[in-house]
């Protein structure tokens, strides 16, 4: 279990007079074993924060620490084993020509881990798939099964922080519930720290202890889960967003 701390994260593109800040100044911290949500409309910079944390984007300023260590200073191997990510679209996050076995075997090979067969079998059973699924290709799996494989791929390196980039938004509703249950079971069992991006407040309500409401790259307000009941947000934008979501839910 590791805590995460983000201080003054900002991204500036261009130089001098033409410089544009697309992420002005983001700071928040996540406790050990907590599930922290990032919500907001599309384009508000939620996924960008995850990509900065995982160093898929490197052109940012500020400081991100995981368990007290700066991610930029961490050696690659250690970083990979500290933090993993589950992507939004399970149809795009698995290589179409690699079998599940290859997908799970690659990280073990890169990190020179032992007992590979055992680890692969454990990872695939942990996400609730039978062991013979190891020999399947992504096109032989449903969306939910693919997302389970993607989660298994993230788990196999035994990270302590898991970044979830809208892990259920590409799935249909019944499968969404399965994946969310799987994720919360895994957290209860293995004690991961989750940072979860979502635009579905029902998902956030179900999964997260605290969440940040974002607008145009800035954190408007950080709220507890309880604030969702009866809309206890103080900032107008956060109130509006929660209100809209509650209205939408009751309309559906």
């Amino acid at each position: 279990m590791k805590s995460v701390d983000i201080r003054n994260l900002s991204i500036t593109l261009g130089h001098g007079a033409k410089a544009v800040k697309i992420l002005p100044d983001v700071s928040f911290s996540v406790a050990k074993g907590e599930c922290f949500g990032l919500v907001g409309e599309s384009g508000s910079g939620k996924s960008t924060i995850l990509r900065c944390m995982s160093l898929l984007l490197t052109q940012w300023d500020g400081k991100i620490t995981i368990g007290g260590k700066d991610v930029r200073q961490m050696p690659l191997i250690e970083r990979c084993r500290t933090l993993q990510m589950v992507f939004q679209d399970p149809y795009g996050s698995l290589h179409p020509r690699q079998s599940v076995r290859t997908v799970l075997h690659e990280p073990l090979r890169i990190h020179g881990m032992d007992n590979r067969q055992e680890r692969m079998e454990r990872a695939i059973t942990e996400v609730g798939l039978p062991v013979d699924f190891l020999d399947r290709y992504p096109h032989q799996l449903s969306g939910g099964q693919r997302q389970r494989v993607a989660i298994a791929r993230a788990l196999i390196l035994e990270p302590s922080v898991l970044l979830l980039d809208e892990p259920t938004s590409a799935l249909d509703v019944s499968v969404q519930a399965e994946i969310l249950n799987l994720l919360s079971d895994l957290r209860a069992k293995r004690g991961f720290t989750y940072i979860m991006v979502s635009h579905d407040l029902a998902v956030v309500d179900y999964m997260c202890d605290r969440f940040a409401v974002m607008q145009a790259g800035e954190i408007v307000e950080i709220l507890d889960r309880e604030a969702l009941d009866g809309n206890k947000a103080t900032k107008p934008y956060a109130r509006q967003l929660i209100e809209a979501s509650l209205e939408y839910d009751s309309a559906v």
Binding site: L56, L76, R79, D89, H95, Q98, P107, H139, Q140
Partner: protein, 294 residues
């Protein structure tokens, strides 16, 4: 679902190959291509048994014989049997195609995928080099190379290879650009995969089908360029039974003895047409949407 499991227990690559062949045989044009190429390979393998005469044996008593009788396609100006020469020529043609493809494919893939994935200045430099190669007509550039290296079949192969990798590199780069920002590449990066590993394991397999198609279509051009170089006297040297060189030799007698140029010409036409049709068929067969339908 059980059927799927049963199907995947058959060795993957063989099953995939058989699927592709079956798909190709379904459409008449690609079936024609496949059959002509199969015949070409068989003829090349069995050349000593199929050929009726020694392709190099001169018989000055029997020069410029019309087709028919003892000589199926007639004889040339030195009394050599044209049918046997064409049969032995398949070996030369196949050697050229094989060697050129085996050189061009990996070079094109390597240049294209690395410059597409790494991007930046590396990409700019590699693509400008590719542009320079592309901006020459390939036959002229091959001519220049052969002129520099000296006329021989091996030099012709090197020259053709040097001129036909740029389109493949371009194609591989374009494909790579569409895959490099995919989530599975990001996932591989997060697992700590090195650039080389990502290119080799994630990107190359995705580029391979279109590169294979391109190489197959390219084979027709390779045959024509080789024949062209042979015709200009810069490829295979006499007395080798290379088809282009045969046409070049027969040109002088063309008016009276049409068979000297016609039969090698038909052979070149058939084979390059066959590779074109096969390439078209492969494009359909390797299309992922088609594969899903099966």
């Amino acid at each position: 679902m059980t059927a799927q499991i049963a199907k995947s227990s058959i060795p993957g690559p063989m099953q995939a190959l058989w699927n592709i062949v079956r798909f190709l045989l379904k459409s008449p044009t690609s079936a024609f291509g496949l059959i002509v190429i199969a015949v070409l390979v068989i003829v090349a393998l069995l050349a000593p048994w199929i050929a009726t005469h020694d392709p190099y044996a001169q018989d000055l008593q029997n020069v410029l014989q019309a087709p028919g009788g003892a000589h199926l396609f007639g004889t040339d100006e030195l009394g050599r049997d044209i049918f046997s020469r064409i049969v032995w020529g398949t070996r030369i043609t196949l050697t050229i195609i094989f060697l050129v493809s085996i050189v061009v494919g990996p070079i094109g893939l390597a240049v294209g995928t690395t410059s597409g994935y790494i991007g930046g200045k590396f990409d700019t430099v590699m693509m400008r080099i590719t542009d320079i190669f592309l901006s020459f007509p390939s036959l002229i550039l091959s001519l220049a190379f052969v002129a520099a290296l000296g006329p021989s079949l091996n030099n012709a192969i090197i020259a053709i290879a040097l001129t036909s990798w740029p389109p493949i590199a371009r194609l591989a780069r374009a494909e790579t650009l569409t895959f490099r920002s995919a989530d599975y590449v990001a996932a591989a990066r997060l697992q700590g995969a090195s650039t080389g590993r990502i290119i080799f394991k994630s990107i190359v397999p995705m580029c391979l089908p279109s590169v294979l198609i391109r190489i197959t279509l390219n084979m027709a051009t390779v045959i024509l360029t080789a024949a062209g170089l042979g015709f200009l006297g810069l490829g295979a040297q006499p007395p080798m039974p290379e088809w282009g060189a045969m046409i070049a030799m027969g040109r002088r007698y063309m008016i009276d003895s049409w068979w000297l140029v016609t039969f090698p010409g038909i052979a070149i036409l058939c084979v390059s047409l066959a590779f074109n049709l096969l390439g078209d068929g492969l494009r359909d067969a390797l299309d992922p949407k088609q594969m899903n339908r099966k």
